[in-house]
């Protein structure tokens, strides 16, 4: 009898299969909790009684890589193994989709061979993502699966990666969306990510085999794949061996190998394997016991006075902080002592928790204490305010600032790390000097720590204590939690202890805050008095890591996690009496939520409608104010974004005898549309411009995107091309422009590589372009004669003649006339908007991005949001001509950026003007511009606000940023 053993150790689970003469006699699938060696020995011991003779073996899986090397057993790459197994078990398969804990894979089989693909590093963590989302919803993975079966609607959730998806899900939860709908939406995000990220244009059809743990256990996920891919019952195969495919493939590869005399030999090798070194470890958090004691005693002094609620009578003020993952309440007396506080996870249902808490509070207060004021802050602010008739809403940044300032009046710097967000303030002369908020990529650090601790079987408190003891903290990087998660797993497999991981995670979170959010390099930049707060700072390991990294002592109030609620309570002290629901009303309070689609405009936002006992409704999820059931603002404020949109979309659709040319309204076309429209019309073409993007546009083209880390404005281009092809145009034009318009104010006038050459990518990756003539000449738009000449010869080549030099020169002139006219009206409109604002005493916001940021899908209606906050909105290109060219410390070589720098200069020179920078995720060049723009603004005492945008649709984070800006301005008295 010959035995062959297949071992597949993934990021989360260990799978083993044992063959005896080619038949499976043993199989096991178990979570290994990163105790890889122990689990493996355990499994081998279990199968030992079955083995009687020589056994050959091979190992696979991401966690198997190192162990295979250590024990000198052949390694078989897992996707390769899957391919081998499928060829044997299901030879008529045309495509395999396999999801694991960390990696997603697709394999295509056809006559020409096998095409195997794995997800890119950014899109990692499929199974781990589902686990995390279940924790977020406070359900088990099984329950999540059951919930998903009863969905009514699907919310659009960013599918770029787990962190982005979470950013979309968290607010949905807090707005009261149904868990059933969220569960299904999570699955849909996984499906979209897999299909768009891996299939990249290749059609998934024929018999599709679904493999791997998550697809074996999650029935809802299966359904979701089936319906998205439109597969019939017989073509969607979920085999029983789904979890073991890799192990089977490995075992059959092993059959051909020389073996070991017995299983014991393998076991012995594992036992003797080197558990990995301690290279690349960090120094411990504490060098000595004394150091630790000094740390503890120093921080125990930072307390806020408390007073037993029983001993107090009189007025009291209530602050509620409805955060992303936790709910906090603080009741304070008139002398600002804390009477009562509450801090707990919101279990995805903050409304019920607050109702319960309020009832309890009323029972404590009795007749002695009257709530004279209440305020609510945090992600759930609007919902809670409406549900319980809370008096005031306060943006969380200002709440945290208010609390910190009360606690330490001479504070210079405040850092707040909550579950989802990191907020930092620099204070100068008693006022907020600058605000820094994390962007999507670095969000969720706080809650990640907690979720991770739970998954290891620890409470966050115990987990933190372990971290303090870590002797050799692991280095986990600081890009984002997806990367950290995969680094942790890696380090566990190398034998890192819980102590070292806990300490390492704390250090990573701190580095993320320091170097990504604050962008600080030395303590002196922060000032003497640094206050740290937010729930995450209750974790002593994080606190210590922060002090160590900064090399400076900081102050952590004992109510670090309650500071938002405390600040809200302080804020409400300006009130005399409160409208908050009384005990009677509260007892009668009920709450239900349902989902709907807004029909207010073409955006079709997904709404969540909350209904309360008194019939009051609260609607959320909409991008503008319409869906909220409010009337539009009484006066129409000037909005250059709308002006530009209207201008460009009202260029007429023309007809001509040379056929129709389609112009995709994306990327650089947003700047030069009038030029090309003019040229082609004058040449006798019909011109058709694609419609402004919607989510649907993106979905239409998402399957041919080759690089998932490109920016959203580029990815959406694919949809515009599809749309044009479907509309029956004869040709599509998007030129390659190395150089953009030379406005003669910068060192050079390049386009970014993506805007410049995206056509090359489209041509290579969109098969549907075969159906039309795709015109993408390399042109120089700064020399009319050259442009006409080149265009003429290009068109003659493409159309086999028919274009004369005179014609094209005339057309080019016409085009430039139209372009100049457009630019001129944008400038005039910009000036008019400024005048209007000043005449009417309105604030001005330069919403500064790129021309394509006016697209309503790409900017997600941020311009409208700004209008609703009573800002007049102008674009960077409408006012930059009013400022002198700006000197910058970097190479000023991109046309769009030169405009941006000048716009920043304009803002820095005008007190009534604020600049908000729109940055698309993945925009490499903005890694350079953002620091510069910030510098220009801050040098002149202005606030810098950056909004990082992507396919994420939820505006919660944007709203907080803009309101923080407003709050800071009000605080400072500039308004």
């Amino acid at each position: 009898m010959h035995y062959s053993l297949g071992i597949d150790i993934g990021s989360t689970t260990a799978k083993t299969v044992l063959f005896a003469d080619g038949n499976i006699i043993f199989e096991r699938y178990e979570r290994h909790y990163s105790q890889v060696r122990e689990k493996l020995i355990e499994l081998l011991q279990q199968m030992k009684p079955l083995v009687n003779g020589r056994v050959s073996a091979a190992i696979s899986g991401s966690a198997g890589l190192d162990i295979a090397k250590e024990i000198d057993v052949p390694f078989v790459q897992e996707v390769f193994a899957t391919g081998e197994a499928v060829k044997k078990l299901q030879p008529d398969t045309s495509c395999v989709i396999e999801l694991g804990g960390e990696d997603a894979k697709i394999i295509f089989f056809d006559k020409s061979g096998v095409d195997e693909r794995m997800n890119g590093s950014c899109a990692g963590g499929t199974g781990a993502f589902i686990d995390q989302m279940a924790t977020l919803l406070d359900v088990s993975v099984d329950e999540l699966d059951k919930l998903s079966m009863n969905y009514e609607r699907i919310y659009p959730i960013a599918s770029r990666c787990g962190v982005f998806a979470k950013t979309d899900i968290q607010p949905l939860l807090n707005q009261g969306a149904r868990k059933e709908d969220i569960a299904r939406s999570i699955y849909q995000a996984v499906v979209n990510q897999t299909i768009s990220g891996l299939a990249r244009g290749r059609k998934i059809g024929g018999k599709v085999l679904f493999l791997g743990g998550p697809l074996y256990y999650c029935k809802g996920l299966r359904e979701c794949f089936k319906s998205t891919l439109g597969l019939s019952e017989e073509n969607a195969v979920f085999p029983d061996y789904g979890r073991f495919t890799v192990a089977i493939g490995v075992a059959s590869c092993a059959e051909k190998l020389d073996g070991f005399d017995s299983l014991d030999e393998i076991i012995k090798r594992i036992e003797n394997a080197d558990a990995g070194g301690l290279d690349d470890r960090l120094p411990p958090l504490f060098d000595s016991e004394e150091q630790y004691e000094e740390f503890v005693s120093r921080h125990s002094k930072a307390t806020v006075p408390r007073r037993p609620i029983e001993s107090y009578s009189g007025k009291a003020y209530l602050g509620i902080d409805c955060g992303s993952t936790t709910t906090k309440l603080v009741l304070i007396s008139e002398d600002k002592n804390i009477l009562y506080s509450y801090y707990a996870s919101n279990h995805g249902d903050p409304v019920s928790i607050i109702k319960e808490q309020l009832l309890y509070l009323y029972s404590l207060c009795g007749d002695k204490i009257q709530i004279a004021g209440s305020a609510v802050t945090g992600y759930g602010e609007d919902l809670i305010k409406n549900a319980f008739s809370v008096d005031l809403g306060i943006v969380e940044t200002i709440a945290h600032y208010t609390a910190a300032k009360h606690f330490k009046p001479e504070v210079d710097f405040i850092l707040d790390i909550g579950g989802q967000d990191i907020k930092c303030f620099k204070i100068r002369n008693g006022a907020i000097d600058s605000i820094m908020l994390n962007e999507a990529c670095s969000s969720g650090c706080g809650s990640f720590l907690e979720t991770f601790a739970k998954s290891m079987g620890y409470t966050i408190e115990d987990f933190a204590k372990q971290g303090l003891k870590g002797k050799h903290p692991v280095n986990l990087g600081s890009r984002c939690t997806v990367f950290m998660n995969s680094s942790v797993k890696q380090s566990q497999k190398e034998g890192a202890t819980v102590e070292d991981i806990s300490a390492g995670l704390s250090i990573s979170v701190v580095k993320n805050a320091l170097y990504k959010v604050i962008r600080v390099s030395s303590a002196s930049e922060l000032g003497e008095n640094v206050v740290v707060q937010g729930g995450t700072f209750h974790n002593d390991a994080v606190l210590r890591a922060f002090e160590k990294e900064l090399n400076h002592f900081v102050i952590r109030p004992d109510i670090a996690g309650l500071m938002g609620a405390f600040g809200a309570a302080l804020y409400s002290m300006k009130l005399e009496s409160s409208s908050i629901l009384n005990e009677e009303e509260l007892k009668a309070f009920t709450h239900s939520a349902r989902s709907a689609v807004c029909k207010g405009c073409t955006n079709h936002c997904s709404l969540t409608i909350n209904t309360f006992a008194d019939g009051k409704r609260f609607i959320s999820g909409n991008q503008c104010e319409k869906g909220m059931g409010m009337s539009a603002p009484k006066e129409q404020l000037p909005n250059l974004y709308a002006f530009k949109r209207d201008y460009l979309t009202s260029l007429p659709e023309t007809t001509g005898q040379r056929g129709t040319v389609g112009l995709p309204l994306a990327l650089g076309m947003y700047e030069l549309l009038p030029l090309w429209h003019g040229i082609f019309t004058a040449l006798g073409f019909g011109v058709k411009v694609s419609k402004m993007s919607t989510r649907r546009t993106y979905e239409l083209g998402q399957f041919s995107i080759p690089s998932d880390t490109a920016c959203y404005p580029a990815k959406i281009m694919h949809g515009h091309i599809e749309e044009l092809i479907q509309s029956g145009v004869d040709a599509i034009f998007y030129p390659c422009l190395t150089y953009n318009v030379d406005e003669k104010v910068s060192d050079n006038h390049y386009n970014c590589p993506v805007v410049a050459y995206y056509s090359e990518l489209l041509s290579g990756n969109m098969d549907s372009l075969q159906e039309v003539k795709f015109l993408y000449p390399y042109l120089n738009i700064n020399n009319k004669r050259e442009l006409a000449k080149e265009l003429c010869s290009y068109l003659n080549r493409a159309y086999g003649g028919g274009f004369t030099a005179v014609q094209t020169r005339h057309a080019v002139n016409k085009g430039f006339e139209a372009y100049e006219k457009y630019r001129q009206s944008v400038r005039e409109e910009g000036e008019a908007a400024l005048d209007w604002a000043r005449k009417h005493g309105k604030r001005i916001m330069i919403l500064a991005g790129r021309p394509y940021h006016i697209d309503s899908e790409i900017c997600h209606g941020i311009d409208k949001l700004a209008l609703s906050m009573d800002f007049v909105v102008v674009s960077e290109d409408s006012i930059c001509h009013l400022a002198e060219p700006q000197n910058v410390r970097v190479l000023n070589q991109w046309t769009y950026h030169a405009r941006l720098y000048r716009a920043a200069r304009y803002a820095s020179e005008h007190e009534d003007t604020q600049l908000v920078q729109l940055v698309s995720f993945g925009c490499g060049v903005d890694a350079i511009t953002t620091d510069e723009v910030r510098e220009i603004l801050e040098k002149h005492g202005k606030y810098y606000t950056q909004l990082k945008i992507d396919e994420i649709t939820n505006l919660g984070a944007v709203r907080i940023r803009l309101r923080s800006l407003l709050g800071a301005l009000e605080e400072k008295g500039v308004c």
């Binding site: 078989v76 490109a710 090359e760």
Partner: protein
């Protein structure tokens, strides 16, 4: 116009007492190139430091979304300044500046900003660029210097190519590296003592070819893997987690297109500016001459290797450029631009079907020229086996290696009959 000079010049006085620090990208080439500068009286140190603290330092002083090479190079500089090995007031830094629409043109400015942030704003940074973009009286790239540097690049490319062809097969571990090291030292010494002579160079080429052919090698066939990509992570072991060594350990033979191709590409781009956009009219004849001169030098070496017959010669640049035109225009010239897919095709046509395309995470030009060209190239050459690997401060090594292993498994599969096994060594 942004004409205000906001940098510190490297003065003639500085030349006498300052040590110039240079980042390492191509170990052999840079040793030779820097020797040229030493011969012209510069004190120069090549930074060969390694380790996690370099990335850490980089992340501290550079925007974390900036490309990985910038984080590494700047991290390496500041780490060196802080090492205590140098008097910060007596050093200058040198960085290559290629120009063009990629954000890499900004590295030098990011370096200056980082220095200022770290408190070393007074350290002069020299821009090493062919266009003399900046004014550094103490550092002038004269024709003789450039001429000698070309010599360095030629020998660098030859040695790199021979090392790659010999190392996987050497019977006595270390033979190849020792020989390469020996010639690097010898050539540098010779340059110092006798200057360079392209007449004698031919003699040298032959001698080197003979010496490498003497290395006792196993007669076996290995999976051949080509590396293309963003210039820094493609070559620098610090940038690509020692990719070449990893592949050799996995039992593969590595092929990396030479550095001269990249130099030619940079020169060629200037010609394109004239051809496509009628820019640089005045400089055109000079650039054209330089281009022809470099082509000539490359041809010389290629002919020699071919005639010798014992080693594989690289493809001439013009052929490489010609080959790719049906897939992408040579107008696509930011970052590595069209050269990147052109090298993929060159590799495939020369029999290297397995290719690793390396890039820093979020590399803009590579969205188009790297990942964006994989499908069209594969459509036309179905046997090509390409994997794109992103390098980044936080990407895990295992993730990268696992993907490379998948590529290798497929590579072995397709040559299974020859090799008899699909498993790693």
């Amino acid at each position: 116009m942004n004409t205000k000079k906001n940098y510190i010049s490297f003065t003639k006085e500085m030349k006498k007492e300052y040590t110039i620090l240079a980042p390492n990208m191509l170990p052999i080439h840079f040793k030779l190139i820097l020797q040229v500068l030493r011969n012209y009286g510069y004190k120069i140190d090549l930074l060969e430091t390694q380790g996690e603290h370099i990335v850490e330092t980089g992340l501290k002083y550079v925007h974390n979304d900036t490309c990985y090479p910038a984080i590494l190079v700047i991290g390496q500089f500041i780490d060196a300044i802080e090492s205590g090995k140098y008097d910060p007031h007596k050093i200058a830094l040198i960085l290559f500046q290629t120009g063009g629409g990629c954000r890499a043109s900004n590295y030098i400015f990011l370096l200056r900003k980082a220095l200022e942030k770290a408190g070393y704003g007074y350290v002069p940074v020299i821009s090493f660029s062919l266009n003399n973009l900046e004014d550094h009286p103490g550092f002038k790239l004269t024709l003789p210097i450039l001429h000698r540097m070309v010599y360095g690049v030629m020998f660098g490319d030859l040695l790199l190519s021979l090392v790659n062809q010999c190392k996987p097969y050497e019977l006595n571990h270390g033979d190849t590296e020792r020989l390469a090291e020996k010639y690097t030292v010898e050539l540098a010494k010779e340059m110092q003592e006798n200057g360079v002579s392209f007449r004698k160079a031919k003699q040298r080429y032959k001698e080197i070819l003979d010496a490498f052919a003497q290395i006792p090698m196993a007669d076996e066939e290995k999976v051949r893997v080509g590396i293309v990509g963003e210039i820094y992570v493609k070559y620098s072991p610090l940038g690509n987690n020692n990719l070449e060594q990893f592949l050799v350990d996995e039992g593969a033979e590595v092929t990396i297109p030479g550095f001269l191709d990249f130099c030619l590409y940079c020169v060629y781009n200037n010609l394109i500016d004239y051809k496509f956009y009628r820019k640089r009219k005045l400089a055109y004849p000079v650039i054209k001459w330089v281009y022809q001169y470099l082509l000539g030098k490359q041809r010389e070496l290629i002919d020699l290797i071919k005639k010798d017959g014992r080693f594989r010669a690289p493809a001439p640049f013009e052929e490489t450029a010609e080959r790719i035109q049906e897939n992408i225009s040579v107008g696509c010239k930011m970052g590595e631009g069209w050269l990147l897919p052109a090298e993929m095709l060159e590799l495939a046509d020369s029999g290297v079907k397995n290719i690793i395309c390396t890039q820093p995470f979020g590399c803009l030009p590579n969205h188009i020229c790297g990942k964006g060209m994989m499908k069209p190239l594969k459509d036309k050459n179905p046997e090509i086996n390409i994997v794109a690997i992103d390098y980044d401060a936080s990407a895990t090594r295992v993730n990268q290696e696992n993907r490379i292993k998948l590529m290798l498994a497929n590579a072995r599969q397709s040559t299974k009959e020859k090799l008899g096994s699909v498993y790693g060594d």
